[in-house]
């Protein structure tokens, strides 16, 4: 799923490890999200949205519309 996760992370000067710690997931999971190898669960997508204080749709491109 296309997303702006890497852009948002880099804007804040965070490493994948740091973002993973903030979200409660592994660095591998962050990398998989950024490289579109993993579609996040609804729970994880909302955790990311809360962390960056943005709606989910601003971070993840809606593939259905």
């Amino acid at each position: 799923m296309k997303n702006r996760l890497k852009l948002l992370r880099v804007e804040r000067g965070w490493t994948q490890e740091q973002l993973g710690q903030a979200l409660g997931v592994s660095r591998q999971a962050v990398n998989a999200l950024e490289t579109e190898k993993h579609d996040p669960s609804l729970d994880l997508a909302y955790r990311i949205a809360v962390l960056f204080a943005r709606p989910v749709e601003e971070i993840f491109e809606n593939p259905h519309g």
Binding site: A22, V25, S26, A32, K37, H38, D39, R47, L51
Partner: protein, 134 residues
């Protein structure tokens, strides 16, 4: 910070320790059998007891893998599940082909317990190619 991260490294360490524990038991009993430690077993009950004992670490290993999945995040969990399904499918396919080969083509007999090392050989083979959760 929203929540503390489950440490993939810590979960991985626990998995390695559990695997080593179960596999050392599996290997020890088999090595003892190879060197004749159980040659004097005459009772069928004792013989089946030995078969169950040597197989118990296999169940333990499955538990260790499920524990690793439980302690990992959703991405790692999905990747492990894919690796497991592919490996189990491949091992079952190979075992089925060989089994029917024994039935219909006079292939030499291979003991059924070989399915376990075969599964892990398949796991090692497919794992490097499973890199996404879809």
């Amino acid at each position: 910070m929203l929540k503390s991260a489950p440490s993939a490294t810590e979960a991985g360490k626990r998995y390695v320790i559990r695997t080593m524990a179960f596999m050392s038991g599996y290997v020890a009993i088999n090595v003892a059998a190879i060197f004749g430690a159980f040659d004097d077993i005459a009772s069928p009950v004792a013989a089946w007891g030995l078969a169950l004992t040597v197989s118990a670490p296999v169940i333990g290993q499955i538990w260790a893998t499920l524990a690793l999945m439980r302690e990992s995040d959703e991405f790692v969990r999905a990747v492990i599940a894919k690796q497991f399904i592919l490996s189990a499918g491949l091992a079952m396919a190979i075992a089925s082909v060989w089994g029917f080969g024994e039935s219909y083509a006079d292939a030499p007999h291979i003991p059924a317990w070989m399915i376990y090392p075969l599964f892990w050989a398949c796991f090692g083979l497919v794992s490097p190619f499973v890199r996404n959760s879809r």
